[in-house]
Amino acid sequence: MADAEFAKNQLILFLREWYMHPNGQLPAYEWAFGDVNPPVHAWSCLQVYKMEKERSGSGDVDFLKKVFQKLLINFTWWVNRKDKNGNNVFEGGFLGLDNIGVFDRSNQIPGGGYLEQADGTAWMGMYSLNMLEMALEIAQYDPTFEDVATKFFEHFVYIAESLNRIGHDWTGAWDEQEGFFYDILGLPNGEYIPLKVRSLVGLSTLFAVFVLPKTQLDKLPDFAKRLRWFQQYRKDNGDYLVLDEHPVHGALHLSLIPKERLSRLLHAMLDEKEFLSPGGIRSLSKVHEHGYSVQIDGQTFGLRYEPGESSTGLFGGNSNWRGPVWMPMNFMLIRALHEYHLFYGTEYSVEFPTGSGQMMCLQEVADALSRRLISVFEKDGSGHRPVNGHDRIYAENPHFQDLVLFYEYFHGDTGRGVGASHQTGWTGVVAALIGELG
């Protein structure tokens, strides 16, 4: 937003030989380089590319090429290291969401089992789509990249299918009865236990979405031809299609979520009794206010909705994902809603908030969410910013009233800032939301 060149240089820096492991892994953080954070690097590269293209009129294709080559290595690391059963369903561990599960997802999986993660899989679905989008964008200038686009298209299809469907070696993460995606615990005896925690883990499936306009597809005849063949092949074999084609404008739509499931997921996400808070989407549904527990191997594991402080000592620093609002995840949800809207348009609308009777298209939902997130920092009628919680000095003292802090996360009911008070890097992304709505 302020300095695209600097952003690009930083993104390239992370892919340099002295950051990326020769095996393709990107370090997670200083305390444990070998831990795994969500694979958002490709997404970031695309955001910066698109932002610059929109502003200056031309995109930096060389930058995309540069990062694409390195990301290929990192993508392959994920595929080879974090898909235990080779079923396109991914693990990954804590994936940045410290205490969101009933146990520490990086360690101590109870019962000697392993966790097939809905979010790990969703992130990888998104990663495939990011790589596909990059390849297609580069292919507009360099046709040799058309080939690899097909690879990521097909890879995405496999992931989408795995997440949604019961295969011979996998029960699927979607719970039809409850209309939500869950992590699945695989036990050594072959039994699968769904962990029915309604959280961002399930909502993260929304992130993987991509719309390819017909005009762009028409410029890539080879890719289009292969895509048609693949589509026909799957149709002939009775497989889930994943790919949607718009009857009017002909755009192609790839997402992890079939339309009917999308409606059910959004129904939960936009429900004030579940995820929708005055300050954005919560990390955990409020339905868990009275707790959730599950028996695994004779032990009871549980959690409950905790909108502010967390009572567990799972990770240091008490980063609480059991209810509070986290800006970066909300930002990604908003970005995803924009992309869905590109395909579904104004004809598709959902209730916002759920139960209000007020219907909105997804663009309007995205804007309404943005406004809620921005409102956390804004002065209300009495000059009080929700972010400041009980600190009245910010509302009452002229030497405080225009000062704004960007906290780590926000109370799930009140919007009060919690944790680090200068988490400028990710909470500061609210600047982009203000810029877009302004």
Binding site: W18, R55, S106, I374, E378, V404, F406, A420, G428, G438
Partner: protein
């Protein structure tokens, strides 16, 4: 998009015409308690380099300070230090709790704000709120330890120390007259209903690379003896010499004391080993808190320097201090151009932010549409200022970090095991070097800068590791 002056500077920088990003807010707020500085056997980073050591102990991988800047390789640093005459230590760096000291223990317990910054750091503004009463160090530690996890943190505001407005607003501003010519303005407001006294120590220092075999020659900050002697001179100056940077010059008004020392360990305080000289890292702290300046008198060069100003400001009043750090000698460092440069850079910052936030129509006509929300623009500006202020110099050379430096005691062997069990890939030692330091030949400029949260980032606790 309108082509603003700031955009032109960016253009110059990225087309390699002028290296505008050489200086910036790259100084961290906390180098103590980081994994990089941890040389303990068990990977207990918070305990092995606590805040209490920071004023006396040399850092290996980076530096820290308040509202500070450095060059992109963090060879030379500048930051603001303060003393209210009551604290047990001078305020050279922000205070916070370690991981185990309370709920959100890793958080800073201070009030400070990033008010403005531009991508080339042509203009920067920072605010630190410094209490006039004794800073409640012990109270913060004690009360946070007492509270459980489910209770909110006990913050500085909760101590009541800002009640009655008995505090200083310390605004630090920077404006670049040129890529290596930085004008510095520190404005101190007494918000209290009565007069109060403050000690201001704008501090310049070199990062200690000489003790680790990373430099041939120790750099030096030297007083220019000719300045300030003629009645017409209204300023003093220093020349700073560093083998990789060449000469820099620093200009300041005559202070009450000229303090020089060395950026060296106070081994006596830290480890009970005798010091080879009294000129150690915490010498200024010792001089102020014991009101003994004698042992520093007569020293006119070193690797750490501060002009010390002691002054009283009436209730509601303010005082302004000017400084200048330049890669070239300047004839009239504090002439009329000083304020004009600040005005220009501030205006250019406004134009730059207007260019990225207002609609084309608003930019062309210069008229803001009804509904352009000033409060939202303020939020946006501070959000981006925070990101730009968060650029920090980050340097770790893994093989060297594991094996230690030549001429130094080798780190304990157990440390290597502690590292392996954290889950670092087993090839760590040979092929996971985060080699971003300045002494790597051929490293392109700027690679050492990373945007990370200045205070803390995701840090799973260490208990599970050991």
């Amino acid at each position: 998009m309108k082509n603003t002056v700031e955009n032109n500077r960016l253009q110059e920088h990225y087309s390699n015409k002028k290296h505008w990003l050489h200086w910036g807010p790259y100084l961290s707020e906390r180098q103590w308690g980081t994994v990089r500085e941890d040389y303990s056997p068990g990977g207990t980073a918070w305990d092995s380099f606590p805040h209490d050591h920071a004023r006396s102990r040399v850092y290996r991988w980076g530096e820290d300070g308040i509202a500070g800047i450095s060059d992109e390789w963090q060879r030379l640093c500048f930051a603001v230090a303060l003393w209210n005459g009551k604290d047990p230590i001078i305020k050279e760096r922000l205070f916070g709790l370690t991981g185990s000291e309370g709920n959100h223990g890793e958080d800073v317990k201070e009030l400070y704000y990033y008010l403005d910054n531009t991508p080339t750091h042509s203009y920067m503004k920072h605010l630190y709120k410094y209490p006039q009463a004794e800073f409640p160090y012990e109270q913060l530690v004690r009360e946070n330890a007492r509270r459980g996890r489910e209770q909110p943190e006990y913050e500085l505001l909760d101590t009541g120390i800002f009640d009655g407005d008995r505090y200083w607003d310390v605004f630090t501003e920077y404006a670049k007259a040129d890529k290596n010519d930085l004008l510095i303005k520190i404005t101190v407001h007494n918000r209290a209903p009565e007069a109060a006294e403050l000690h201001l120590l704008p501090t310049l220092w070199f990062r200690n690379l000489w003790s680790f075999g990373l430099m041939n020659q120790k750099p030096v900050i030297r007083l220019q003896s000719s300045d300030g002697l003629k009645p017409s001179d209204d300023y003093r100056s220093l020349v700073l010499n560093h083998e990789k940077m060449g000469d820099y010059f620093f200009y300041f008004r005559q202070p009450e004391h000229l303090l020089f020392t060395e950026n060296e360990n106070n081994s006596e305080r830290l480890w009970g080993q005798p010091n080879s000289s009294v000129f150690v890292k915490d010498a200024f702290h010792t001089a102020l808190t014991t009101n003994n300046f004698e042992f520093l008198e007569g020293k006119t060069e070193g690797t750490k320097f501060s002009p010390m100003y002691r002054f009283t400001v009436e209730a509601g009043g303010s005082a302004v201090f000017q400084f200048r750090l330049s890669g070239q000698a300047v004839k009239t460092p504090f002439g009329k151009n000083f304020d004009k440069t600040f005005d220009d850079r501030k205006k250019e910052a406004d134009e730059f932010y207007d260019s990225i936030t207002l609609s084309n129509r608003e930019q062309i006509t210069g008229i803001r549409q009804a509904g352009t929300d000033n409060d939202q623009q303020n939020i946006l500006r501070q959000a981006l200022a925070g990101m730009l202020w968060s650029k920090q110099y980050y340097n770790i050379d893994m093989p060297r970090w594991l094996d230690g430096d030549p001429g130094q005691l080798p780190p304990p062997e157990e440390r290597k095991k502690a590292v392996t069990t954290t889950g670092v890939p087993s090839t760590t030692r040979t092929s996971f070097p985060c080699r971003t330091n300045g002494n790597t030949p051929g490293t392109p400029p700027g690679t050492s800068l990373s945007i990370v949260c200045r205070w803390r980032w995701r840090t799973p606790n260490l208990q599970k590791i050991s």
